[in-house]
Every structure is written in structure tokens, then in C-alpha cells.
């Protein structure tokens, strides 16, 4: 057994070396950057950069907006994706067509879609016309805090398909016989959903939720296309901050902000894993 392990080492080493070289070292190098002042002397400043960045009002604004947008987008995307996938799983025989076409928005370039979005949400656009038709007042969707709605909708529209496909794969993997057996035993739809569907798709659902959160954290392209490097305050995200710092060649602040954000994401994921573990145990 010990001999076999030793034999495996040469096969694993190249991969490990690659990970170390292209992931480990840059990751550690980035941490080092965030702990220096970036000057000619390149002095070690400990966590001073972290202190400065965390106190920076624009970092705070970006972080707040990113978390707020994530809190809206991630659950909304998760729920919509679950709903759609259940629906699509039940549609037969045309389900295959819908299941395939739902992925299309994900494949389309954001810049191409954005133009249509801007036309729809323009002051004189289709959305406002619909609102006035229903008796409401027109809204400046592309200014101020209102801009969040088109951005959120664009995000949902674009990412929904991908999550639906993953959910569908999980749903279709559940043996039909389990439902037939449960039906024969007199289990209701709700009982089947909570006792069969949910426990069996929890790992997938968790993965989808993680993906939703990750994608929501990365909302930037949509904001940048509409608002540029300095959008309206309600849309200024952490990615804007990091992008602008990069533009100003302030690599220290870029790395500091990136690692700070990574720490927050890890904390959230840690919490989610803990919750998943508990949920799995409860459902079992």
C-alpha cells in the first residue's frame, strides 16, 4: 500500500506544481502586496492597508451595495430557478425545447443585451408605456436608485437558465419509482416534495445557491455598461472600487480590497456550509 502511494507521487506532482505556481504563489504574492506600501522602499506595513481600505467611504459604499444587490439577487435567482425547473420538469412533451432554450440568455453577450434593456427602460420606453397604460407615472429607470431594478432584472434574466439547467439535472436524476411508491402509499404532493424531492436535491440546491451568491457578488459588467467607472451611488459596487483602483495603478488597494472581499465571501460560504450540514441532518 505504502509503495503504491509513493508511485502515485510522480503523477500528482506536476499537477501540484502547476497549482502552486499558478495559483498558490500569486495568491500568496497578492497577500504580500496587500501588506506592503507599494513604494520604492516597499515597506511592510502590516494591516495598515486593510485599515485604510475598510475606512474608505467608497469601499464601504461598494461593499454595502454589493451585499445589498446580492441579498436581492441571490435568493430571487435561486427561487426563480427552482420554480422554473420544477415547471419545466413537468412539461411534456415540449419540455425539451424549453429546457434547451432557457440557457440562451446565458450565452448571449451582455453588451448586446444591454442595448435592448436600455431601450426598454428608457423614459419613453416600453416599460414606462406599460406603466402609464396601467395608470401609473413614468419613472426615470436609468437614473438614481431606480437603476437597480433594470440591473437586477438583467442579472436574473441572464443567469436564470444556467441555474435551471443544474436544478433540472438533479430533478431528473430522482427515480420516478420513488414518487410512484409514495403515491401508492398515499403521500400528498407536499409530503413528496419535502420527503423525497428536497432531501435528494439538497446538495444540488446548495451548489445552485452558492453559484447564485457568487454570481450576484460579481455584478459589475451590467453596472459598468450602464454607469461607467463612476455610476450613480446606489449602483457603485465593490468591483467598481477595485477596477478604479487598478486604473489608478494602486495595486495595494486592489489586492487589499480583493482579499477583504474574499474573506467576507469565505465567511458567508462557511455559514452556508454549516447551514447545509444542519439542514441535511434535519431532513435525513
Amino acid at each position: 500500500m505504502y509503495r503504491k502511494k509513493r508511485l502515485a507521487l510522480p503523477f500528482v506532482l506536476p499537477g501540484l506544481a502547476g497549482i502552486l505556481l499558478f495559483y498558490g504563489i500569486p495568491f500568496l504574492g497578492g497577500i504580500w502586496y496587500s501588506l506592503t506600501d507599494g513604494s520604492f522602499e516597499n515597506a511592510f506595513v502590516g494591516f495598515r492597508n486593510y485599515g485604510n481600505v475598510w475606512q474608505n467611504p467608497m469601499f464601504q459604499l461598494g461593499l454595502r451595495n454589493t451585499l445589498e444587490l446580492s441579498l436581492i439577487c441571490a435568493p430571487a435567482l435561486f427561487l426563480l430557478a427552482f420554480g422554473f425547473s420544477v415547471l419545466l420538469n413537468r412539461i411534456r412533451p415540449a419540455g425539451a425545447f424549453f429546457r434547451s432554450s432557457v440557457l440562451l440568455p446565458y450565452l448571449m453577450p451582455s453588451s448586446a443585451v444591454l442595448l435592448i434593456w436600455l431601450i426598454w427602460f428608457d423614459y419613453g420606453g416600453a416599460v414606462n408605456r406599460l406603466i402609464t397604460l396601467l395608470g401609473g407615472n413614468r419613472v426615470f429607470w436609468l437614473q438614481g436608485a431606480e437603476l437597480r431594478l433594470p440591473v437586477v432584472l438583467l442579472f436574473l434574466w441572464k443567469n436564470l437558465g444556467f441555474c435551471v439547467v443544474i436544478f433540472l439535472a438533479a430533478l431528473q436524476a430522482i427515480p420516478e419509482s420513488l414518487y410512484e411508491y409514495a403515491t401508492l402509499e398515499g403521500a400528498s404532493f407536499g409530503r413528496q416534495a419535502f420527503s423525497i424531492t428536497l432531501p435528494l436535491i439538497v446538495p444540488t440546491a446548495f451548489l445552485v445557491f452558492i453559484l447564485c451568491v457568487v454570481n450576484a457578488f460579481r455584478i459589475f459588467k451590467e453596472v459598468y455598461f450602464i454607469g461607467g467607472a463612476y455610476p450613480e451611488e446606489p449602483l457603485y459596487t465593490l468591483q467598481n472600487y477595485m477596477n478604479n483602483m487598478f486604473g489608478k495603478l494602486n495595486y495595494q488597494n486592489v489586492t487589499t480590497a480583493a482579499y477583504s472581499f474574499a474573506a467576507i465571501v469565505f465567511a458567508i460560504f462557511g455559514l452556508l456550509f454549516w447551514l447545509q450540514g444542519r439542514a441535511q441532518r434535519g431532513l435525513s
Binding site: E41, M58, Y230, E233, N244, K248
Partner: protein, 787 residues
């Protein structure tokens, strides 16, 4: 015995002397050498430029054109150089220029008003130099060309004399272009003779540059269309190397060999621009296997024409070399540009021990001067001037402690310089007494920007700043004095309001014809905002002062001032539109006057304060040179900076140093004066021959010449006494511009949104308050982010 010993010793001595001589000759053969250096330094338009270079019969012919025309002939074997003045030849051509009035042209019978002889090109052939001369005749209604006269130029007593008789007549039929009854000769360039053929390029009707080949035995002409042809050269076997430029996303230069006999083309190599910039000074060895070229400041040798095998063999002497460089039998390349001709070794073993790399991101005349001077003064140091490089990756290079480039040159207000300055990536030059002494002579308030934490970190290479300027001549003609000129922006707008009544019935207009309304307003807006950013760096733009001034921009009465709209500009070519729009009137003002000290310009810059109780301060763009702190050749780099300081061009030198107050003449002042006197004499001769009708116009020309000549000494200055006096008064108002948030707003990050709103404001659809408020909002975000 003794005799034989003496003979043997004598023979040995002779052999030693001969061997030493051969060794010296061989050493001289491969050396770098400057054949000609025409520096424009401080000489304005008079110094001339190298027009063409030909190598034939072991001699190099350099044709220089400018205030004086000349040809320099260097014998490659002996190294002897002789220069021949071609001015007399030009006079010969000029003598045949003006026909007697009333003479009828034989072809048309129409009355000829004038005829003109043009020197088309010069080329070496059959051991001598020849010229192609065209004669064009003009009448009121038509012009005709009688072209392709080949005449020998006799070189004697330091002069070139044009032969009286045609040696040959080239077929010029296809070399003319006709528009209605007007026929003109096509412009040809890059003439080169080889064997009994003369090669050149000329533009066709379709705008393509075609290859033209004249047979020098029969005069026959053939034209070949080579797509995207940019330049060509003839090789030793009579085939032609062509260089084609393909522009686009992946721009490239294609070197091919064209055989005029078989009309077949063989592609030799393709250079992608993004692989390190464009190439120039191309040459192919006689066996066709080795390719030489200049790229990013260095001469490369590519065995087998394989670019992946290319290695640098020497530094290039000029940054703007011509496309092709003749390769001499001793292996040296003759690299040339309009500014000079240089022989450069292609033997890498002859490279200097120290290579100093210079990366200029901003061009300045001082840098060209310094590069030439440094190469001449320090042959032991090779100076490589890299003109291709990305400014935005500079900080990364510094963070990697990259010492490849020794000296950088860039605008002090660029974001890249700001990033380096803030982080201290600039070598400390304080220990160099030569530099600190030189910097000690410049205005202290301008020198401040060269220091960081009390240490000298950069030297200036150029200063500039654009703003509103008034023509001193028109100002005098309008009866205005400097006391009448506005001192604040508010007074300036009042002044604009009064101008229409002042200009009524005169031959003056307020601004230059081609300054349209949008352009004028944009220039004024940016002028005010830039000044505001400089004077109130930490205050919001939305202030009473800025708001008031911006509102006044949109109150300018453009109709009354005769400032055209963009639609007017489009109609400019319609019949009579130019005159109707006031195109013949002299302009009082423009918006691009350099308020640093400018050579050649006689405009008076307006120095305006933002308000009555504000100091007038204008942002000055300073181009600086500094040393990479990781450079392995810091001492040599500092030596180069000293050379920069010693060879600053005149306007920069005078703008920086308050102790320079002696007015400066053009070095070619006397030649210019002689030229003027010569033309005055030509005019006087013509007035004697002219009939009554033409006499008046000739007399008018003579009066103008006489007036110009009388005022010549007083007015013809490189840096005039008036310019110095004016500058000394305004120098205290100039502040070196640094990178600021307003610059960022104008850059790519904030650019689109700001431009959109700026256009809205200029078109009147966006109120000044909203524009300023938008700026504040964005700048506030930028400021809060920090640097």
C-alpha cells in the same frame, strides 16, 4: 650583409607600417559614422532637410533641400566628403520661371501669365549627377506641363551647375494629371537610379502609390500598381524591395521582392505592429538571406529572414529613419532621415560596453537635440531610444524592479508619472552637482515640481500650455494697446461683447475662420475648468465663480462675432462662400496660443484671472526626464540628463531660465535676408520687363518686399526682445500642472459620461449648474476613493 640586414629590416618595417595601415583602414571601415546631421535646433524653417540619398559608384550622394540647396558627396573608399551648393542651380531654374508678359504659349495660343521650372528629382547616373526638370506654364484659364527634361548637374568649385541642354527626355505623358483645362505634374517621391533605370513612386488617380520606372536609355515610362505600397528600394540584382502597410486591427508591414522583368512578387517577411512597433531602415544582404531592420531604437539582424532569430546588432541613430537603408559592401547600413545620414556597423562585436535605454512617452525637440549631442559626445555609450512602449505598464515594471529602461520621458501631469512620483519610483538626482546647478538656474516656482521630499528627481525637457492669444499685428492695426486687454474672464466676455462694434467696417474678424462655435466654446470651457481645478484644487466646481463664467460662455453672441457654425463650415467650398464668410479677414484671436515661450509665434497670450480678487494662474504642462531607480547605468543616465539640460531648445530654455534675456536670432537669419534681397531683385527685374497692366502689381510686390526687408532685422527673431519681455511678466502666473481629478474625469474612466454632458452644455440643452453638479458628484467619488 649589413645591406641585406638593413633591407630585411626595411622590408619588415614597411610590412609593419602596411599592416598597421590595413588594420587602421579595416577598423575605420566598420565604424559608426555621421555623414550629415541637420539639426533643427533653434533654426526654424531655415536649416533644411535631407531629401534623398543615393549610393552609386562607391559614393554616397546626400541631397539637402531648404533655405539653401546642396548635395554632399562622400567617397566611401577615401572617406573624403565634398559639398556642392545647388543654390545657383535653383537660380538657373528660377530665371526660366517667369516668362515675358504677353508671350503666347505655342500649344494653346493663350496668353501666358507665368511659367515655372520645377526640379523634380536628382539622381546619380553614369558617374555624374542628373536632374529631372519640369516646366509648367500657367494662364488665366489653363496650365500645361512640359516635363521630363533630364539635365546633367556639373559639380565644380563647390557648386552645382545645371546643364543647358537636355541629355534625355523622359516620357512624361502619363506623369501628368488633368482637371478641366488645368494640367499638372504628378508629385513623385523616393527617386532612385540603378543601372539605366530611374525608379520613383507617384500617386495615381485612385490615391494608390504606384511604382514608376523610367528607362534612361529610351526615356520610356512604365507604371506598376503594388497595393498599399509605402516605399521601395532597388537591390544589387536589379529586383525591387517593396514595403506595404496594411492598416487595421492587426496592422502589419509586408516586405516583398518585386522583379520588374517577370513582374513577379515574392513575399519575404511580415512584421506585425504589435510585436514591437513599426520597422524602418530595411535592408537585405546581397545573397538575400539576411534581413536587417530598425525597430524600437535598435538595428536587428535576422539570419534566414527569420524574425524569431533576430538579434540586435547596434543602436539606431534616429527615431524616424526612412523605410530602407542602403547596405554598404563593408556591412554598414546607411540609415537616414530628414535630419541626417549615419553609417552604422552591423557587427555586434563592435557594440559599446554600456547601452543606455531611453523611453520617451512625450516628444520634445530638446530630446532629439540631446540624443544627437549625446551620441556625438559619448561614443563609448550606446543610446537606444525606444519609441514603442505602454505607459500604463510602467508601475508594474517598477514593482518588478525592472531596470531595462534607464531614462524615461513623460508629461509630469500624466497618471503614470503621478503613480511613480507618489510611490517614489524615481532615482534621487540630488547627488549630481552638475544637475542641481543646472536646475538651480530655472524659476524656483517651476523647479518645485522636479523635487520630491526635497530631493531632485527629474529634469525638464519641455514646457507648454495652450490658451487664448491675440495677434500682436492685428491688435496694433485695430488701435488697441495692452492696457485695453481684459485681465479677468469676466472682462474677456465683456471684451467679446464690444468687439463687433470695434470690428465693424474693418478687415478683421474676432477668431480664426476655422474655429467653429462648438470648438470655441469647448476651448473656453476647458480653459476655465482647467484653471479652476488648478486654483481651487479642493473646492467643488459648483461655485458662484464657475457657474457665472460657464453661463457667460453660452451668452457669447457668435452671430455678431462672425463665428461660424459647423453647417457653415460644410458650405465653405461653395462658390463665393469663403469670402462671404469673412475668410479674407485677419483674425484677432485664436485659442491655441502657447503661453509658455513659443518660437516663431508673435501672438500675445491672454492671462486671465477667474475673478477680480483671484490671482491669474495658468497650468503649464511640463515634460520631464527621470532616471529609473533600478537602472544599472545610473551615472550614464545622469550624464544624459545633463545633456538634455544643456540642449534644451531655445523656447524651453528661455521659458525656464530667468537669466536668459538676450534676444535670439535664427542661425540662418543672414541667409534668409539674402534670400529676401534676391527675390526683391527678381521683382525689380520683372517690373522693368512688365507691361503697364502688370507693372502696378509688380510695384506692389516690390513695396511689400522693401517694407519686409526694412523691418527684417527688427522682426525676424527666434526669440524676440518683445517675446522675452512679455514672458517675464507672465512667467510668475504659470504653475506646473499635476495629475488631478479633473484629468481623470476627462480620461477613459469618466470620459464618455462627461463628454456627453459637455456636449449637452455646449448645445445649450444642459444648464451650467447641472454640468458642474455632475462633475462634483463624480469628482467627489474619485476623491473619496483616493489614489
Amino acid at each position: 650583409m649589413r645591406k641585406s640586414i638593413i633591407r630585411i629590416l626595411g622590408c619588415l618595417l614597411l610590412a609593419a607600417v602596411l599592416a598597421a595601415g590595413c588594420a587602421c583602414a579595416a577598423g575605420a571601415e566598420g565604424e559608426n559614422e555621421t555623414l550629415l546631421l541637420l539639426t533643427d535646433e533653434d533654426s526654424g524653417w531655415g536649416s533644411g532637410s535631407l531629401q534623398s540619398v543615393n549610393v552609386a559608384d562607391g559614393k554616397v550622394y546626400l541631397f539637402v533641400s531648404g533655405l539653401t540647396e546642396s548635395v554632399q558627396v562622400t567617397d566611401l573608399a577615401s572617406g573624403q566628403t565634398e559639398s556642392y551648393d545647388l543654390t545657383e542651380m535653383q537660380e538657373q531654374l528660377a530665371e526660366g520661371t517667369t516668362q515675358e508678359a504677353g508671350e503666347e504659349t505655342p500649344e494653346t495660343g493663350a496668353e501666358a501669365l507665368a511659367g515655372m521650372n520645377d526640379l523634380v528629382c536628382c539622381f546619380p547616373w553614369k558617374g555624374g549627377i542628373y536632374a529631372v526638370v519640369n516646366h509648367t506654364e500657367y494662364s488665366n484659364t489653363q496650365s500645361t506641363v512640359d516635363g521630363g527634361h533630364v539635365r546633367r548637374i556639373r559639380l565644380e568649385d563647390g557648386k552645382g551647375i545645371l546643364g543647358e541642354e537636355d541629355e534625355l527626355r523622359l516620357d512624361w505623358t502619363e506623369m501628368t494629371e488633368t482637371a478641366g483645362s488645368w494640367t499638372n505634374s504628378r508629385y513623385i517621391s523616393g527617386s532612385e537610379a540603378f543601372g539605366d533605370r530611374l525608379y520613383a513612386t507617384a500617386y495615381s488617380d485612385t490615391g494608390d502609390q504606384n511604382l514608376i520606372i523610367f528607362d534612361l536609355t529610351t526615356g520610356e515610362m512604365t507604371e506598376r500598381m503594388i497595393p498599399d505600397l509605402s516605399d521601395f528600394t532597388v537591390t544589387a540584382d536589379g529586383t525591387i524591395l517593396t514595403l506595404q502597410y496594411r492598416w487595421g486591427e492587426e496592422s502589419e508591414q509586408i516586405l516583398s521582392r518585386y522583379d520588374p522583368e517577370s513582374e513577379e512578387t515574392e513575399e519575404l517577411v511580415r512584421f506585425r505592429m504589435d510585436d514591437g512597433g513599426s520597422v524602418s531602415a530595411l535592408a537585405v544582404s546581397e545573397d538575400g538571406n539576411t534581413l536587417y531592420f530598425v525597430r524600437n531604437g535598435e538595428i536587428f539582424e535576422a539570419p534566414g529572414r527569420d524574425l524569431s532569430q533576430a538579434r540586435a546588432v547596434n543602436a539606431s541613430p534616429c527615431s524616424n529613419a526612412q523605410s530602407f537603408a542602403p547596405l554598404l559592401p563593408d556591412g554598414r547600413m546607411l540609415i537616414w532621415s530628414g535630419e541626417g545620414a549615419f553609417l552604422r556597423s552591423t557587427d555586434p562585436s563592435r557594440r559599446a560596453n554600456v547601452t543606455l535605454r531611453l523611453r520617451p512617452y512625450s516628444w520634445s525637440r530638446s530630446l532629439d537635440n540631446a540624443s544627437n549631442a549625446f551620441a556625438a559626445e559619448h561614443p563609448e555609450i550606446e543610446l537606444v531610444r525606444e519609441d514603442y512602449g505602454d505607459e500604463s505598464t510602467l508601475l508594474q515594471a517598477m514593482m518588478n524592479q525592472d531596470g531595462t529602461v534607464d531614462v524615461y520621458v513623460m508629461a509630469r501631469n500624466s497618471s503614470a508619472f503621478s503613480a511613480l512620483y507618489d510611490r517614489g519610483f524615481l532615482a534621487d538626482l540630488s547627488g549630481d552637482a552638475g544637475l542641481t546647478d543646472r536646475i538651480g538656474k530655472i524659476y524656483p516656482h517651476l523647479a518645485e515640481c522636479l523635487y520630491r521630499d526635497g530631493k531632485l528627481v527629474a529634469v525638464p525637457a519641455a514646457v507648454s500650455g495652450d490658451g487664448i492669444g491675440l495677434s500682436a499685428e492685428v491688435l496694433t492695426k485695430m488701435g488697441l494697446t495692452e492696457a485695453d486687454l481684459p485681465r479677468t474672464w469676466d472682462q474677456f466676455f465683456d471684451f467679446l461683447g464690444e468687439l463687433p462694434s470695434r470690428m465693424e467696417g474693418t478687415n478683421f474678424r474676432a477668431f480664426e475662420l476655422y474655429t467653429d462655435r462648438t470648438e470655441l466654446k469647448r476651448d473656453l470651457l476647458n480653459g476655465i475648468l482647467n484653471q479652476y481645478a488648478l486654483c481651487h484644487p479642493d473646492e467643488p466646481f459648483l461655485s458662484d465663480t464657475a457657474l457665472h463664467l460657464l453661463e457667460r460662455i453660452n451668452q457669447i453672441d457668435c452671430d455678431a462675432l462672425g463665428i461660424l457654425t459647423e453647417e457653415d463650415m460644410d458650405r465653405m467650398n461653395e462658390d463665393g462662400a469663403f469670402e462671404a464668410m469673412g475668410g479674407m479677414k485677419e483674425a484677432l484671436m485664436n485659442t491655441y496660443t502657447d503661453y509658455a515661450l513659443s518660437e516663431y509665434s508673435t501672438n500675445v497670450p491672454l492671462i486671465l484671472a477667474l475673478g477680480e480678487d483671484e490671482e491669474a494662474a495658468l497650468p503649464l504642462t511640463v515634460t520631464v526626464a527621470f532616471v529609473n531607480p533600478y537602472s544599472a547605468h545610473a551615472a550614464e543616465a545622469q550624464l544624459f540628463l545633463e545633456t538634455v539640460m544643456d540642449h534644451l531648445n531655445a523656447s524651453t530654455r528661455y521659458a525656464l531660465r530667468p537669466d536668459l534675456n538676450e534676444p535670439l536670432r535664427y542661425p540662418t537669419h543672414e541667409e534668409q535676408k539674402k534670400n529676401l534681397e534676391k527675390w526683391l531683385n527678381v521683382a525689380r527685374k520683372n517690373v522693368e520687363k512688365a507691361d503697364e497692366e502688370q507693372k502696378a502689381s509688380w510695384e506692389e510686390i516690390i513695396t511689400e518686399f522693401e517694407k519686409e526687408l526694412a523691418e527684417f532685422d527688427e522682426k525676424n527673431w527666434l526669440i524676440s526682445p518683445d517675446a522675452i519681455a512679455h514672458y517675464r511678466q507672465r512667467a510668475e502666473h504659470l504653475r506646473p500642472a499635476g495629475w488631478d481629478y479633473f484629468s481623470l474625469l476627462l480620461s477613459a474612466e469618466g470620459g464618455d459620461q462627461f463628454m456627453e454632458r459637455q456636449t449637452g452644455f455646449l448645445e445649450g440643452s444642459l444648464p451650467a449648474r447641472e454640468l458642474l453638479s455632475f462633475m462634483d458628484k463624480k469628482i467627489q467619488m474619485m476623491r473619496l476613493e483616493g489614489n
